[in-house]
């Protein structure tokens, strides 16, 4: 846990500082800009999937899927972030209690 906290913090600050310090003709290539927009999409999407459908290294379908489905519907209707998260938590907890 501590390695995660320290390593992430050091790397996050290092990247930010580097951005302020290097001459900016580097990394301004459009392909790098484009890839930089795509990386958060794949990583965050992967996190959504794994956090919903994986239990250690097994794939499962449980109460979390209900929460995620409600979250997706809420986002579709342009609900603000707090509403999305709270609706997901409520529906997941409801299914959890109902099924156990």
């Amino acid at each position: 846990m501590w390695w995660g906290v320290i390593g992430t913090s050091v790397a996050a600050f290092g990247l930010k500082y580097l951005g302020h310090s290097i001459p900016h003709r580097y990394l301004e290539h459009p392909k790098i800009q484009k890839t930089n927009l795509l990386i958060p999409i794949t990583l965050l999407s992967a996190l959504v999937a794994v956090q919903t459908f994986a239990e250690k290294s097994k794939l499962v379908l449980d109460h979390r899927a209900a929460g995620l489905a409600i979250a997706a519907i809420a986002l579709k209707f342009r609900a603000p972030f707090p509403v999305v998260v709270i609706l997901a938590a409520i529906s997941s907890a409801a299914v959890f209690h109902f099924s156990s």
């Binding site: 600050f13 500082y17 951005g19 890839t35 958060p40 992967a46 999937a49 109460h63 997941s92």
Partner: protein
């Protein structure tokens, strides 16, 4: 904006404690890393059994964009020494976004937009992280309160606004499928990092 940041902060504090990080570790992440998506990724990967290394790698890949924001902001801010350290630390989505949105109002307005937003978000983010962490600690079983679904819902909320065109949506679904397909066969955390190659393959080829 403050309300949204506060909500993300609470969600992060709660998610981090639910993933097994202590309140001190959770707060330090918000103070020192100060990059929402990276922090969520670290606690997400390590909370589901991934190693520290795969957690750090995922979080750092998500932090690359802050470096590019810095490139964009440095000619505007023209900072040196300690002030540059501070500027770098508050270079995030929100501060860069507000600065760029003031472009029509001149450089002075862009600079104050950057500093006010960066420092404001920093304060809110850290206060609400502690609130979320304390709240989650008093709750007990995360599943009974729906916290285990709140985390992926938060990730979905982070990725949703980025899916502006059909090909982005396609990429998102492909990343989900790849991560789930790899999950049974490789250590936790690796399926998530692996999807970065999907972004690399498409980003470097397109245009």
């Amino acid at each position: 904006m403050s309300i949204t940041v506060g909500a993300y902060g609470i969600a992060f504090g709660a998610a981090s404690v639910a993933a097994g990080f202590s309140i001190l570790q959770t707060s330090l992440l918000s103070l020192l890393t100060f990059s929402g998506a990276s922090q969520f990724a670290l606690v997400g990967v390590m909370g589901s059994g991934g190693s520290a290394l795969s957690g750090i790698a995922t979080a750092t890949l998500l932090g690359f964009r802050n470096g590019l924001y810095g490139l964009r902001m440095s000619p505007l801010l023209k900072t040196r020494g300690p002030k540059r350290i501070l500027a770098a630390h508050v270079t995030i989505d929100e501060s860069t976004g507000v600065a760029l949105s003031q472009e029509g109002l001149g450089e002075q307005a862009m600079r104050s937009g950057f500093w006010l937003t960066g420092i404001g978000v920093f304060l809110f983010w850290n206060l609400f992280t502690i609130a979320g962490a304390l709240g989650a600690q008093s709750m007990g079983n995360p599943a009974a309160w729906g916290l285990d679904a709140a985390v992926p819902a938060a990730f979905l909320g982070l990725v949703w606004p980025r899916l502006t065109c059909l090909s982005d949506r396609f990429l998102s679904v492909a990343a989900m499928a790849l991560a789930l397909a790899l999950t049974p066969f490789v250590p936790a955390g690796i399926p998530i990092i692996a999807t970065a190659f999907l972004a690399l393959a498409i980003g470097l080829r397109r245009l």
